[in-house]
């Protein structure tokens, strides 16, 4: 039943090269004074705001993009609190009566819809097309519903949805099952390591549209042309930074996924597509087991797959377990077969673009090696990094500069973790 990671060998050489390239591409950001990229030392896991009662506001702010731009956004934030993207992750327990009090600090009406929740009731506000709305500039409305089923859900704007969802008015609700916070659903097969729970929320951004909204200009939604694609509000390689790094004050959530080879319990990955484009996502060299969809557990024969397409408005829950099946054994020799198609990485066949890398210098898990003079490695203890990204490859860029955009890494620590 558990996901077994296969095919790790495939593309390993490519991946290492790609990582070197990725870091290189990231550095135009450094050139204009952005903080240095570094290996994660703090938390990158999902950060909950616990309920079951939440005070939210609809507000405005800016996100930073790795190419040095900033984009005007709308978003849900805690009240009091400051703008953030995506909205806070609202965590409740199965059976909770959830209440969300919304104050609208934007200049047009805003509402919230709760896909996957049934029997939502509203207090206050005024009638809207899809949901009761909080009036512009200070209006309020309260929503409540019983979180009857565990899973991953979106909450998002139900007003002017063609514009407001694109502007960023979306977030995620996580309903914890009665079996415990370390289960995705009320099924023992969905148990995961509570220290390895990750959330990846997708967005697509047309900065021209956002600029038109910012300056009150007319915009034509039919001319929309996305230029930024974000995970948790960040474009790569900001996706790799820790939660709450001080230089991204409005994009608090990391999307670097960390797993440990051979760990007893899998990690849980929650995908939520808050954007309006369907995104095919895959981690290089690995497969994952899809156990839930839109807040409902799949049947026992859950799907093990490589690429998962997350349609607009969908959520997917996946278990990710990393077993060392190809023998990336710690030790000087390991037992990897020599594959002429994918020769072992060595200093002769690797390019360290801009002299920075996450590569350890050694193809074996838990081993580190040497680098040419002047090359800096962020590798801590011989851990692996695999790219993990939207395979709609136009989306792994920041405006027109790649690598970037809808891309992150999955980090595999050697058994026992980094010392």
């Amino acid at each position: 039943m558990m996901a077994i990671s296969r095919y790790k060998l495939i593309g390993m050489g490519l991946l290492l090269g790609a990582v070197a390239l990725i870091i290189g591409w990231a550095f135009p950001g450094v050139a204009i004074g952005r903080p240095n990229l570094q290996a994660a030392t703090g938390s990158t896991t999902m950060e909950c705001t616990n309920g079951p009662s939440f005070d939210l506001q609809a507000t405005q702010g800016y996100i930073d993009t790795p190419d040095g731009n900033s984009v005007y956004m709308w978003g849900f934030a805690l009240d009091p609190g400051s703008f953030q993207m995506p909205g806070p992750v609202l965590c409740v327990d199965e059976g909770d009566m959830v209440t969300i009090n919304l104050t609208n600090n934007l200049n047009e009406p805003v509402s919230i819809v709760f896909p996957g929740q049934m029997g939502v009731t509203a207090t206050g506000g005024s009638a809207g097309l899809l949901a009761t709305e909080a009036a512009a500039s200070g209006g309020t409305v309260s929503y409540s519903f019983t979180a009857s089923e565990p899973g991953t859900y979106l909450y998002e704007s139900g007003t002017n949805t063609h514009k407001q969802v694109q502007m960023g008015l979306a977030g995620v609700i996580v309903v914890r099952p009665a079996m415990g916070d370390n289960y995705a659903y009320n099924d023992s097969a969905t148990q995961f390591d509570p220290n390895r729970e990750y959330l990846l929320v997708f967005h697509d951004i047309d900065p021209v549209l956002h600029q038109a909204v910012e300056f009150g200009l007319p915009y034509e939604i039919t001319t929309r042309h996305d230029r930024y694609w974000t995970i948790n509000g960040r474009g790569a390689v900001d996706t790799l930074l820790d939660n709450n790094v001080v230089w991204l004050p409005h994009q608090p959530y990391s999307s670097l996924v960390r797993v440990e080879a051979g760990a007893a319990l899998p990690a849980l990955i929650r995908y939520a597509n808050a954007g309006t484009v369907n995104h095919p996502f895959h981690p290089h060299g690995n497969t994952m087991q899809v156990v839930g969809r839109d807040g409902r557990a799949l049947e026992a024969a859950a799907l093990e797959n490589f690429t998962t397409t997350i349609g607009a408005g969908q959520t997917n829950d996946l278990l990710f377990r990393w077993d060392n099946v190809e023998g990336w054994t710690p030790g000087p020799n390991g037992n990897l077969p020599d594959n002429p198609k994918f020769p072992f990485p060595n200093l002769g066949n690797l390019v360290f673009k801009d002299d920075v890398t996450f590569y350890s210098g050694n193809p074996y898990l838990g081993q580190q090696g040497s680098f040419p003079p002047g090359v800096t490695s962020f590798n801590e203890c011989g851990e692996f990094y695999f790219p993990w990204h939207s395979h709609a490859l136009n989306e792994i860029q920041n405006f027109d500069e790649g690598f970037g955009g809808m891309l992150t890494l999955v980090r595999v620590d050697p058994p026992g973790g980094c010392p």
Binding site: G119, T132, V165, T222
Partner: protein
Amino acid sequence: MRTRMTKLIGLGVVLVAMALLLVNTPVQAHWPTPATDQLSQNAPAHPQPPPVEAAIQQPALPAAQASPTFDLCASDGEITLPDSTTVTVWGFVDTDGGSCTTGLVNSLPGPELHVNDGDTVTINLTNALAENVSILIPGQNVTESGGVAGLFAAEAAANGGTVSYNFTAQEGAYLYESGTNPSIQIPMGLYGALIVDSGVTGQAYGNAFDQEAVLLLSEIDPNLNANPGNFNLLNYHPTYWLINGAAYPDVPAIVANPGERVLLRYLNAGFDHPSMTLLGGYQRVIAKEGFKLNHSFDAVAETIPAGATADMIVNTAGLQGNLALYNRNMYVTNGDAYPGGMLTFLNLSAPTGMPPMADMVAPVNDAIITGNMVLVQIDASDVEDDANLGAGNLSVNWDVDGGTPQMAVYNGVSGYYEATLDTTALNDGAHIINASVTDSDNNIVYVSNNVNVDNGAPVDNPPTVNAGVDQSIILPDAATLDGTVTDDGLSTLITAWSMTSGPGIVTFGDASLVDTTASFSVDGVYVLRLTATDDTGPVFDEVTVTVNPVPVDQPPTVNAGVDQTVLLPDSATLDGTVTDDGLSPLTTQWSMTSGPGTATFGDASLVDTTASFSVNGDYVLRLTATDDTGSVFDEVTVTVNPAPEITTHIGDLDDASTPAGGPNWNAQVVITVHAVDESLVNGATVTVNATRIRKSNGSQPVSTLTCVTAAGQCTVTQSVNSNQFENNVTFTVIDVVSPTTYDSGYNHDPDGDSDGTTIVVANPG
């Protein structure tokens, strides 16, 4: 289990004109007029349209008709979008017995065709447009008649041409759409929905439902519609998004009673991949492209790819109000105006009273039942009805596995609604008993229990299949297929051979026989499949047959070995290799092509032999192999070097004289020649002077003798007559030559009977 045949893009042709009409009458079912303003999850209505019952399509033709015929006309016309934009469209219309002309289209999509699973369906197409038109029905196996040949299907010629398509309908939701110039004709509107019902009322793929709604998704780029004859598809950019040809707010709502199960049949005739979301409920995806899913799943938002269809059931139990159903890619505008586009509502009337309570008392869940008199008991009650009408006035229906519902009758003694179930009509194994309880205000509650029928019938197990061992044959031989199929015989067994892969055509002796033959059109590797099917489903095994071409006598291949170097007088060891297919007699022969001297072979007819050479130099030796295809040769060069010069000396001189009868004796010396390292030297020519002393006059005749060393030694002999000569002879080594250089300074003799150069031997007599 029914095995679905390949659902290919149908091709087919026919040639009939039009006639029958397609009745598309919205049936005024029992749905109550929905109360307005019982709205969304949390809001009263605001710009919502009044629900329109026509959204729920009912079968257009009587379901009993087993050979329905549709007469469609490809025509043109105009539609008006909600923002008053008018676009020219092409579309399929039903001519209702009239003639097919231009200008007939005033709405999209084409008529919704309803037939039953297994029906033999005919679609007669007449084309009033100025370019050819055809119809594809992806998922149905279509044959065609009439018309003119087209890229994907037979076409009805422009300006009045006709074609007919015929197929046996397979259950599910299918698009019918243009197969001619489709990248223009489909967005122009030449599409429609074909709904193949299961044939059992209220069931789709074995899932029960109460209401059915078809949602045909499509899109419009007005620039294309304005100029279909000369449109650059690189500029295709739709700005209108349609459900059943209409955009919000013109899309009728889907109306159902709370508690009803609503079957949503999505078909995407557009080129985008919309994610269709339902707020406040779940859509259970039960089938895609007409195939029932083995593992259905619940979705809020499900993506319907371009050209795909999906069937979903919304169980509205516990839900109420207006549930928004829209394109979550947010194509919810008409042009730039919001709201619009692919947006509609599932309108659930609010219940007017308390729902009934229901429990299935018997058989209990997971019960094992047997016989023809199994009691089904449903405990049902309703607060209002029981008070107002008395107990026993609820409508209670039950079915097995979603089959035809039957009524359960109230038993005043037991207080339950009861019926009997004849399990002998069921297969042994798992079944589900469903019951629905409806009260007077149309609240419905469903209950069900799982049961296991056990009438002792043997369990039908799947057959086992072995297609035999892989084999190789040579053309034109046929392969003898030795399959094995075993089965318990509890249901009809059908076996069939088929080709899974291969480069040519396979002809089976009798494909239905387990043991048969297979012949092949061309050589190559074929994978043949033996499939055995009984009521438990198909099982197969495969065998690989490697078909080799007719063998042709090929010339041998010859390798004379690697070039080599030898020293005189050594011989060369020739290591040749000759391979051949053995299809004709093979002979081999070594010969000398060139060389400074003569080459002598150990056995010139052997591939591996030796060659010795008369003088040093380069010799080219040829190994020739000959069969019926001719001769093939390869050559090897042997470089013969002269023996190397070494420096020698005499290592020993020993007297070996022997009597020779009478006064005669042989003065004889064994000479040992050493190299500098005292190793024995072979092939050295030793020149020795033998000096005798004549008794008569004291003269000393000298004979010069030579010998050539072998094993480091050679012997010289001088005949002596002791009557004429003294009784001793002096031997003196003069020279040791070729291939040596003689250095007498190293001469020695280990036993001291000479100085290494000169030895005096005496008459042994």
